[in-house]
């Protein structure tokens, strides 16, 4: 079965990102397909490569990046939500005259249409929020 996943809260602050990650991992292990993971609201903050979590804690961003690399997951960060919160990639940085970017490997920035499309294409859309 094909799943779409929506993550609405940032890493560490709320458990939503953890639950979504464990759900995705379990779905993959059962042979399901993850059509897309879409990050909205504060969920966009899952896509920054600048976190330095405590040594004895999980690395939420890296966990997403690694899982994406292993399973060719499509991790999409909403551009509008990302702009409000300071999550940008190199081309966005250039376009808006910013001197740095912070997006993590495996994530891409795109529009809200990608969420709707996931709702259309996937058999189930599951929302993880705060």
């Amino acid at each position: 079965m094909k799943f779409g996943i929506l993550v609405n809260e940032g890493p560490y602050t709320h458990e939503a990102s953890d639950t979504a990650y464990q759900f995705v991992k379990a779905a993959l292990m059962k042979g399901h397909e993850i059509y897309r993971v879409f990050f909205y609201h504060d969920g966009v903050n899952n896509g920054t490569r600048l976190t330095v979590p405590p040594q004895d804690d999980r690395n939420i961003v890296k966990r997403w990046s690694d899982l994406a690399a292993l399973h060719k997951l499509d991790l999409v960060v909403c551009v509008a939500a990302a702009q409000r919160r300071g999550l940008i990639d190199a081309s966005e940085a250039k376009r808006h005259g910013k001197d740095a970017d912070n997006i993590a490997p495996g994530f891409r920035i795109s529009g809200l249409g990608q969420l709707i499309e996931a709702g259309i294409q996937a058999d189930r859309l599951v929302v993880f929020g705060g």
Binding site: M1, F3, N8, E15, A16, T19, Q22, F23, K25, A26, A27, M29, K30, H32, R124, L125, V126, V127, F128, G129, G130
Partner: protein, 99 residues
């Protein structure tokens, strides 16, 4: 339909709102801080027992264990792991997350 609830029932109306709109025969999965509603002998356990007569109540085991509730789960609440969560989503046509 599968409903998920991720808030504690004591300081927040999310569970109550979910139960208000959950149709007879649907499934309610308690996750994250929502699992506190699965405990015995609390101010909401009668409410949950009542709800269990018309909907199926599940609780996410890793969340239950993290909160030390493993020996307090009331009768009639079924524990599932993340794989069981996936199965519940597969088994229902839609999922509604009550946040």
């Amino acid at each position: 339909m599968l409903h998920t609830v991720n808030k504690s029932p004591f300081d927040n109306g999310t569970l109550e709102t979910c139960l208000k709109f959950a149709q007879r025969g649907s499934a309610v999965l308690l996750i994250e801080d929502g699992v506190y509603a699965a405990a015995r002998d609390t101010a909401v356990s009668n409410r949950m027992q009542e709800a269990a007569k018309s909907v199926s109540i599940y609780a996410l085991k890793p969340d239950v264990e993290a909160r030390g509730l493993q020996n307090r789960v009331m009768d009639g609440v079924r524990l599932v792991d993340y794989g069981g969560f996936v199965d519940l989503v597969v088994d229902h046509n839609t999922v509604q997350s009550w946040l």
